[in-house]
Symmetry: C2
Subunit: 197 residues, 2 copies
Amino acid sequence: MNIGTYSFEEYMERIQAFHGSTAPGMIAGGIMVTIARGHLPKGEIFDVISESGHCLPDAVQLLTPCTIGNGWLKIVNTSRYALIFYNKYTGAGVRVYLDAHKLAGFPAVRGWFLRELPKPEQDLGAIVQEFKRAGQAIFGLQKVQVKPEYIQGEKKVRAAIAICPVCGEAYKSNLGDICPACRGTAPFLVVQDGGDA
Amino acid sequence: MNIGTYSFEEYMERIQAFHGSTAPGMIAGGIMVTIARGHLPKGEIFDVISESGHCLPDAVQLLTPCTIGNGWLKIVNTSRYALIFYNKYTGAGVRVYLDAHKLAGFPAVRGWFLRELPKPEQDLGAIVQEFKRAGQAIFGLQKVQVKPEYIQGEKKVRAAIAICPVCGEAYKSNLGDICPACRGTAPFLVVQDGGDA
C-alpha cells in the first residue's frame, strides 16, 4: 500500500519526523488523503477542510501543498474523523471518513478509534498491521458541496492595518478600535516587557 | 543569519517546499522562532501559541516539533503578529512580536507589514534583504504567563466515543446526543453518498 507518493514504510518515517510519533490517526489520515486525491479530477486546485484537529491536519500537511499557515487547509471541528478535498472556486469535492460500521474485522483499529481500549492497552503494532490489511476498505466516501463561506470568491478588499492604542501592536483595523487581545482574548498575561529582542 | 539550525538560504528553500511560496511572514516567523528558542531554558519542553493564522504557524511547524495535528501548537487569533513559547506545565514563557515602531529604517518590510503598499507593488527581494539586515532588531520580547486553559493540567478523562444517530459517524459523546455537524456546524452539504471508498 502506498500513502501519497510514499511507500507505507517511508510514510511511517515521515510521520515520526513531522508529527513526533507514529500515531494511529496519522496512518488513518494518510490513507484518507490518498483516497481523496484519487477521487479528484487530475490537476484540480483544491483546498482541504479537516473536521478534526487531531492528527488529520498533519497528514494533510505532510502529503499535500495545503498547510494551516498558507490557508489552503482549514480546521472546522465537528469532532468527526473526516477530510474534505474540494475545488477552491466551486466548492465541489469529496469527503472521506473513517466508517465505524466497517470495523468488525479490525479489533485493534476499533479499540483505538472508538476508545474501547484505554491507551496503555492499545497495541500499536496490531493497529498498524490492521490498517495495512484494511487499506481503503474501512473508509466511506461522499460527494459534497462545500458551503459558500469556504469557497474563494471575489477578491476581498484587505483590511487596513492599525496600531492598537493599548498594546501598540499592529492589527487589522476592521476588528475594532482596539485589538482583539486588548479586548480580552489574549491567552496570556505580560510578566515583564523586554522591549528589544 | 541562521534560522533555527538552517542557514538563511536553506530556510528559504524549506519555506518554498512546505509553505509553497517565500512569503515575508515566513521569514519574519523564522526569525521569531529563533529569538524565542534562544530565550527558553535549555531542554525546555515547550508548547507554542500563534496569535495569527497567517504564515507564523508554518514557521513553527518547520522549525520545531510543534504542529497543529500533534496539539503542541495552537492558534489563538488576536490578529497580532506574535508567537508565544511556554513551558507546557507551568505556562511561563516568552512572547516575540514584530514591532511596528521599529520599522522606520526598513521601508519594504514596513510597506508589507502595515499594508502601506498593495501586494503587486511590494518588492519581495527588498523585503528579504531588509529582514537579513534587520535580524532580531525589529522584534519585541516579553516574558509572559500563559492562562491556565492552555497549560497541561491533571490528565483529563477522555470522553467516550458515541455513534451519531443522524449521520452514523463517531464523535465525542460529551458533545451532545447528536454530533456537532448534525447540529448545524457541517461546512458542506452531501451531494451523493458513495458509501465505500
